[in-house]
């Protein structure tokens, strides 16, 4: 029996009748049963619902109805997405006392309408505050390419489930890098869309000023197809600024001729290991890049993003930190409290800087269509790693993994992470960020597809 290896193949097989949606679902469930005791990506399964949704797809096909663009595709969601009838844990114990969700999150409903089949919910850092998914309550998520290493975070279960070929598609959230880091460390494709592009309604928040939601997938095509299905205006979400669907799938293979593509230097190479620099330079060479580009005020943006996130995140949980602090994740509870105690002056300065920064970034992107940078400074560290050495400097591991993603999301730019495989990392991947101006996801995808078609970027089967 074929494991779930290619989501696009599964969609085609269901569309042509070569396989039923129930058969595709069963293959996914068997793969999960076979591997998840070692990977620990899943925190919940929705077997009754999965079977019902798969049967609905098969019934539609039998009737000759038009199938949705993702009909029969199994997927799973980070457990901060509302699933009707389930408690939204957001990686915590505290939330177990919450009422079950009354309806699906907006993006889950979008995927359901597209015919996708929800398999379950996925491990994450508690309340999305972390880059490692070393969740004390539910156990660490293991990297499918080396079980002794982290999967990244905070959407670690999403990255690991796709990399382990348990599901070809997962949803995650990205506040400071939480889609891009696991995509990079697990060797899969990930999209952090433009800030405000996709509705966040029905997801458990971390930092309202910075939260994004998006897909992780096993190919550039599936990433694009799922992104198109997720789009849609949502007047009920004050954070959703999108008014029109702007599909990217049709333009995927337009190529990169005529695009102005640069490689980010300075901060983005200074804070990268030789292997991370290597993948960025290989991607740049494949895309015909000749120039290095300086991103404005990257270190300051990272500082402002850190302060903004800590302040809003800590304040959001203040009531529970007063009453139930002992039930919090021990790896992050002190950081949540420190964030809640931050002086208002720090937060206001960060917010005022953000507007100036946005204008500087937009000015840069008038001259460039796509910019390239490593997604993480290193490949996946071992679970439990406290310190990283990057270019001779000792840095605390857990915040450092997001050094290269934070400045980009603070500007709200869309980013596709392309999975690449450097030399000298014991077979472990590092992704590259393909960055464009706000609302130009199409440009990120054209560069991503070009890297995939050139054979430079793509997923690999883990030896699980």
């Amino acid at each position: 029996m074929k494991a779930v290896a290619s989501g696009i193949d599964d969609i085609r097989a269901v569309a042509t009748g070569e396989r039923s949606a129930v058969e595709v679902l069963e293959a996914s469930l068997q793969r999960i049963d076979l591997t998840d005791d070692r990977v620990n990506a899943f925190t919940g399964k929705n077997l009754d619902r999965s079977l019902r949704e798969a049967r609905e797809v098969d019934a539609r096909r039998a009737r000759g109805d038009v199938l949705g663009p993702l009909a029969g595709l199994p997927y799973a969601v980070k457990n901060l997405f509302d699933i009707e009838g389930e408690v939204t844990l957001a990686g915590s114990v505290v939330n177990r006392t919450h009422q079950p969700a009354r309806e699906d999150a907006f993006l889950v409903a979008q995927l359901r309408a597209a015919g996708a089949v929800l398999v379950g919910s996925l491990n994450m850092d508690e309340y999305a505050y972390g880059f490692t998914t070393e969740n004390t309550h539910y156990g660490p998520c293991h990297n499918p390419h080396d079980l002794s290493r982290i999967a990244g975070g905070s959407s670690g279960g999403s990255g690991a489930a796709v990399a382990a070929q348990q599901v070809p598609l997962a949803l995650g959230s990205d506040t400071n890098g939480s889609i891009r880091v696991p995509a990079s460390l697990c060797g899969i494709w990930g999209l952090k869309p433009t800030f405000g592009r996709l509705s966040r309604r029905g997801s458990y928040p971390f930092v309202h000023s910075l939260d994004h939601l998006g897909p992780l997938a096993d190919s550039a095509e599936l990433l694009a197809l799922s992104y198109d299905a997720l789009q849609g205006a949502d007047p009920l979400d004050p954070g959703c600024q999108s008014t029109a669907v702007q599909p990217v799938t049709a333009g995927l293979r337009r190529g990169v001729d005529g695009l102005r593509i640069g490689l980010l230097g300075g901060y983005f190479l200074d804070n990268a290991s030789p292997a991370a620099r290597e993948v960025a330079q290989r991607a740049a060479a494949a895309l015909g890049v000749t120039e290095r580009v300086d991103w404005p005020d990257a270190a300051l943006a990272r500082a402002a993003a850190f302060i903004t996130g800590a302040s809003e995140g800590g304040t959001l949980h203040l009531d529970d930190l007063r009453m139930r602090a002992a039930e919090f994740e021990p790896l992050s509870v002190d950081r949540f409290i420190a964030g809640a105690l931050q002086p208002g002056a720090w937060y206001v300065q960060a917010q005022r800087f953000r507007r100036v920064y946005r204008d500087k970034v937009n000015a840069l992107l008038r001259d460039w269509d796509v910019l390239i940078a490593p997604a993480t400074p290193v490949s996946a560290p071992a679970i439990g790693t406290e310190w990283l050495s990057i270019n001779g400097e000792q840095l605390p591991c857990r915040p450092t993994v997001g050094l290269l993603t934070q400045p980009i999301s603070f500007a709200g730019c869309p980013v596709v992470v392309a999975p690449m495989w450097p030399e000298n990392t014991d077979g472990m991947p590092i992704g590259v960020q393909l960055i464009a101006a706000p609302w130009r996801e199409d440009l990120c995808f054209r560069a991503a597809q070009a890297l995939q078609d050139a054979g430079l970027a793509g997923t690999r089967t883990p030896s699980l």
Partner: protein, 73 residues
């Protein structure tokens, strides 16, 4: 800020916010906040003028709401 001053700040502001911290936890929180203070110092040195407004500006919703509008011209 020196470590004893940061620890004093943590203990005092925790009281203001109603957070109960024992001495060991107050020390850990102060260590985190000291690292953030270094970032805040970098940011504070960035030149901003009085005209530089925050990224997020309150925007009133449309009023009257569309459903309440008088249909007459």
């Amino acid at each position: 800020m020196q470590a004893p001053e940061m620890l004093a700040y943590v203990k005092a502001s925790a009281v203001v916010l109603g957070l109960a911290l024992d001495d060991a936890q107050a020390l850990r929180v102060a260590a985190h906040l000291a690292r953030t203070a270094a970032l805040a110092d970098q940011l504070a040195a960035y030149p901003l003028g009085p005209e530089d407004e925050p990224a997020e500006i309150y925007r009133p919703s449309a009023f009257p709401l569309p459903a309440e509008e008088d249909p007459k011209p």
